[in-house]
Structures are given as C-alpha cells and as structure tokens.
C-alpha cells in the first residue's frame, strides 16, 4: 500500500537515555501515509508507544521531535518542529511547535523523528551530529538559565549547531516549563520542559549537514518559488514582516477580544502605549525560521530588556491582562520567562490570577494588578520553586483547587487560556474546551472567522459546532505537513500539490480534509484512553456568568446552555457520543 515516499528520510533516531544508547529504525510509512508528519505523526506514535496511565514525569514518558516531508525543503513556512509528549500539566497528549532552525537541522541530520526514552542518571545533554550520537555531561549547566546554557554551548560548538535547552523551571519539573531554542523560540506549553527535566536532560544539540531528496527537484523547486511569490509573500501577508504578531493587538482590541485584568473585561484604550509601533522603535533586526518566507521575528532591545518578540500572547498577558502598560517591563517579562524556561501564557495567566486573588482578599499572594516588577520577580520564584513561587508553580488549576478562585482560574484541563476573550468570539469557548491539550488557541482558531474576517457572527451559538470543526480540521492538517500558521492563505489544493510534488506519490485535496479529521480524532482517542470525556471539556465560570463591562463586545456573556449546545453540536459533527466519547469502530478506523 505504501510506496516509498521522497521528502522523508525514512529514518527514526531512537535514544535510550537510561542505557545511553542510540538506534536507527525505519519510519512507519503506514503511519506517515495516514498522518503525513509533524503533529499527526507524533500523536500516532504516542498512541502506539505510550501506555495509558503512565506518569508524564516518569521514565516511561517519551519526548518526540517530529518533522514532516516538507521540512528541509524550500516550501515556505515549513521549518517548524513538533515537540510532543504526554503532558505533565494536563495528563492529555501534548504537541508543541517550535520555530527557529532546529527542525530543518534534525531533518538534514538524516531523521524524520528523534524519540527520547528513559532517563539519564546524571544531568546531561545529548549531542546529535548527523549520525553520531553522544551523551555529554551537563553538571556545570544544571541550574543555569536557558540563555546562559545556550550561550555556553553555542560558544563550544559554533553556529552550525542548534541548541534546545531548558531553564530552572524545567529542571524543577514545573508544569508550565518550556523548551527554548535560538534563545527566543519555544516549544512552549503543557509542561514540555518538565519532560526533559524529568529525564535529567538539560539540552539537545543538533547539527545536520545532509540533505533532503524530493521528486523532480528542479521543476518542484521552480513551482515552489512560484507559489512563494504568488501566495505567500503578498501584500495581504505584509503585516507579518513589518509587525509580526503585534499586528493582532489592534485587531483584538478593536475586535473586542483583548483581555483586561485576568479576563475580567476586555479592551485597553491605552493600547498604543505598548503596541507594535512603539516596539518597532527598538527593533534591531528581523529573523524567521528555517525555510520561512515571512520573517515574523522582531529582535529588539529596550532599556536592559532584550528579546526576539514579544509575541501577541506575551504582550497581552504581561500588558493589559495584568493591568500593565510599560513596554519595557513587558519585554523584560518575556526575556525572563524565556530564560527561566517558563511558558509566558501559563505563567502569566497564573500570576494575574494571583493578582485577582490578592485584590479580592481571597488569598494574599502579595501581588496586585499593575505591579510589573513583582510580576517579573515572581517568574524567577516560580521557576525555582521558592517562596510564593512554590504555590504559583502549580498553575491556575491546582492552585485554585487549593485556595479558591476557581471561577476566574482561566484554564481547561490544567492548561491556561490564551489571550483571546471568548465572550467576544463565542466559538472560541468551545475551541478551548475541546482542544487536544487543554485550552489552546492553535487548534481551532475561532477569532479568524468570528473577528478578523468576520465570516461568522461572534455573539451566537448557531452553527458554531461546524465552525469549530472546520477551523480545527484546517490547522490539524496544516500542522501535520508542517506549515506555520502565518501562511494563512494556504489551501488544501496547494497542500495536496506540494505533498504530491515533494513525495512523488499522489495526495488529493479530499485527503487533506480526511487527514485533518483523523489527526483531531487520534488526539481525542489518546485522551479518551486516559479517561477524558465531556466533563473535562469545560468553560471557566467567569465566561458564562459575568457580562463584559466595556469594549466592542460590551454586555456579552455566553449563556451556559449556549455553550452546552455548541459543545454538543461539535460532538455531533465529530461523530462522538453525548459524552464526547469516540465509538470503538471510529477509533479502530483511524489506526
């Protein structure tokens, strides 16, 4: 059934950290034919290899670095790498997507995938130099920030090597810890850093000088260049090079979904104090990922704060959502979070929850809205499990179960809310609820339809089950190719054409939709096996009881019955039962 497909290396690197050994094996081409690569392929492997019930911080969990057939080709926006494992934050599957250059280097090193199993006895890092694998001592690096770690390793090995590293947060097994690469790019969410930390793995260092073979390379390359010019680097996508994700600030503020003070309201009339125009003045350069065409990364220095970013999520959570308007503090928050190895979204959301708890007098965490310096300080305490950081490092779900304030603990399944207020985009409440790894905006991105292109009315539950599905299907297949989110105008036709040209095997437009659906289902199947069902697809009480007081969505609140109805609609579209469970035949059909 499966012909050999070009574009793939047909090689998986399996690393046994316990025994300090490495083996090569062929890629499961049958999985690849059904799931393509990156996100889909990673989840399929996880379903196959991770027994239900394992401890995400135990040695049976595995870390999967997964590329796709387009990785390491000039297909624009194809350079991202899937970083997946069972999540310590939620107990669900988790698939992160890291930019930078590590993804293409892993592919050029000759691998579709690298799987890390077991646990090192002592802190160490793994050095992958094409087909040479070495286990190195990291005792001197353990305890250092991610940035210092990367600097030391970069000095030792040179710019041909990509470095993925964790900071103190990952070492201390914080459920909000991330993995960094290229200093300022992350595999951010779900505690993926803690999976590395639990394996005593401080870093992964990768050099790849091999190549990727594709079908009919000269014609394929010429066609790719055509697509690059006609569909990617266009006036519509101009904002990505000029502004990066800061372009979302105005759209979200004026669209009614920019959160204010822990999602207690929306909109900040003073958003121009920290917006893209302000940040641009401090920009020193641009950077994109490998094989990018758009270059969203803004490298800037403001005061003593330095970072590539900050991205919309980080600006919002450390800005209006924290009651802060100082751009230097916002950038500093981003820098410190990156260095400590903390997800800005989850760590930020937890701190702003603590601000509300303190101001309401429910529990004194010693911080109020607007206290920017403290917010930055708290990142360090959380990463190091010190003082008030010990409680905050638990994340909003566990901390609110301990201290109260669950109604405004903005999370689903233990993963905190990204910076889009669902009362301004009702379908988003369901997107967050049903996302495969907890509240994530990168699965079904409702604001695209309900706000930015206004193709669906935002304040109704009508047809939203279908909308959530359509958006989820699109991202699921896109991230399995893997193509970055910013190529917003890509179509199933282009995806099928690129896959066909690169692999030399026919892929059709219809298959893109089928695979998207299958990827959603395999994520759900993994979680179902772990015991998840409808009662875990939740919405924070705030969203269904408190009406917004200001902004373009003033007065909006999502009635509980409307949320319940949208959720049921979605289950119907997926063919799942009333409890959100997949029938056995459906699970069997996707394996």
């Amino acid at each position: 059934m499966t012909n050999t497909m070009l574009g793939y290396q047909n090689k998986v690197l399996r690393i046994d950290l316990t025994k300090k050994g490495a083996t090569f094996e062929p890629l499961r081409m049958d999985f690849a034919r059904k799931y393509v690569g990156s996100k889909g392929l990673a989840i399929r492997y996880m379903y196959e290899e991770l027994e239900p019930g394992i401890d995400p911080l135990g040695p049976e969990n595995k870390l999967f670095l997964t590329t796709g057939p387009l990785t390491g080709t000039p297909v624009p926006c194809s350079g991202k790498l899937s970083v997946a494992a069972k999540s310590p934050a939620t107990g669900t599957m988790n698939d992160c997507s890291i930019g930078g250059h590590v993804g293409i280097r892993l592919k050029f090193a000759g691998y579709d995938m690298a799987i890390f199993e077991g646990k090192l006895k002592e802190p160490g890092y793994v050095l992958i130099d094409n087909d040479r694998i070495r286990f190195m001592d990291a005792t001197d690096l353990w305890g250092l920030g991610s940035h210092e770690t990367e600097s030391i390793l970069a000095k030792k090995y040179g710019p041909e090597y990509s470095i993925m590293s964790i900071g103190p947060a990952g070492e201390n097994l914080c459920v909000m810890s991330c993995i960094n690469s290229d200093y300022y790019r992350q595999a951010g969410r779900g505690g993926i850093g803690a999976v590395m930390g639990s394996k005593n793995m401080k870093a992964i260092v990768i050099r790849g000088t091999g190549g990727v073979k594709v079908n009919d390379i000269v014609n394929t390359t010429n066609r790719i260049i055509e697509i690059l010019r006609e569909d990617v680097v266009t006036e519509d996508n101009d904002f990505i090079f000029h502004d990066g994700t800061t372009a979302f600030l105005e759209a979200c503020n004026d669209g009614g979904i920019l959160p204010w003070k822990n999602f207690s309201d929306t909109t900040d009339e003073k958003w121009t104090e920290y917006n893209g125009e302000v940040l641009k003045q401090y920009r020193e350069g641009k950077r994109g990922c490998g094989s990018c065409g758009l270059g969203c990364g803004n490298f800037l220095k403001i005061g003593d704060a330095i970072c590539e970013g900050p991205e919309y999520e980080s600006i919002s959570v450390a800005g209006p959502n924290a009651g802060i308007r100082d751009p230097e503090k916002i950038v500093k928050f981003n820098q410190v979070a990156d260095d400590m190895g903390l997800d800005t979204i989850s760590a930020g959301d937890t701190i702003i929850w603590a601000m509300e708890m303190t101001e309401k007098g429910i529990h004194d965490f010693g911080i109020k809205f607007g206290e920017a310096d403290k917010m930055i300080e708290y990142l360090k305490l959380m990463a190091k499990n010190e003082g008030v950081g010990k409680d905050l490092a638990l994340g909003t779900k566990r901390a609110s179960e301990k201290y109260g304030g669950t109604e405004f603990a903005m999370q689903v399944k233990g993963l905190e809310y990204p910076q889009y207020e669902p009362r301004g985009s009702w379908a988003m409440s369901v997107s967050y609820a049903v996302s495969d790894r907890g509240a994530c905006h990168m699965r079904s991105y409702a604001p695209n339809a309900e706000v930015f292109e206004a193709s669906a009315p935002p304040y109704t539950g009508e047809n939203k089950g279908q909308l959530v599905y359509d958006l989820a299907e699109f991202n699921a297949i896109k991230f399995s190719l893997c193509i970055c989110d910013f190529w917003g105008t890509i179509t199933y036709d282009i995806m099928a054409e690129l896959l066909t040209r690169v692999t030399g095997v026919e892929w059709t437009t219809e298959q893109m939709a089928e695979i998207g659906r299958r990827v959603i289902n395999i994520g759900r199947a993994f979680n179902q096996r772990e015991g998840f069902d409808r009662k875990h697809d939740t919405v924070p009480k705030r969203v269904v009881t408190e009406a917004l007081k200001s902004g373009p969505a003033k007065g909006q609140v999502i009635p509980q019955e409307v949320f319940d109805d949208m959720l049921t609609q979605y289950y119907n579209v997926m063919g799942w039962d009333e409890n959100g469970l997949m029938p056995e035949e459906l699970i069997a059909s996707i394996l």
């Binding site: 006036e235 105005e250 759209a251 706000v451 930015f452 292109e453 969505a553």
Partner: protein
C-alpha cells in the same frame, strides 16, 4: 443621514490623505451600503476584515443610524 467612516490597517490608503470621511447615506442603510457610497465594495477587497459601529462589533449587513461612526479594519490572520 450623515455618518462618518474611518478606515484602519491597510485599508487606510483607500481614503488617501483623509483620516476619515463623512458621507450622506439613506436612512436605515447597512454598513455595506454606506461603504459603497464611499466607493468601497468590501467584496472586491480580498483582505477586508471586520467592522464596528460606535466602537461596538457588528456585521457588514447591520443597519446604521444618524451620526454613527463606522470603522473598518483590514484582515490579519494567524494563531
């Protein structure tokens, strides 16, 4: 009735030097119709985004009242 139209993002250039324009429109006309009076047909602009009236999110076929401020944004897309 008279309403004011402001364009944001990459739509701004459609009004040239003007920050905003006041236009005379029929009573009860929609945002779509008002924009057309100002020479803008949103269907022909691939990156046309969303609209708001007096700071509140509305849809393109929602009706306007005298003195309303209609704003239109270009589209961003992403995640």
């Amino acid at each position: 009735m008279e309403i004011t139209i402001t364009l944001r993002g990459t739509l701004k250039k459609l009004f040239g030097e003007d920050k905003e324009r006041k236009v005379e429109v029929p009573e009860g006309c929609t945002c779509d119709e008002a924009l057309q009076v100002a020479g803008i047909n949103y269907r022909e602009i691939p990156n046309f985004g969303f609209v708001a009236v007096n700071g509140m999110r509305v849809m393109i076929d929602d009706k306007l009242s005298p003195g309303d401020e209609l704003k239109a944004w270009s589209r961003v897309s992403g995640g």
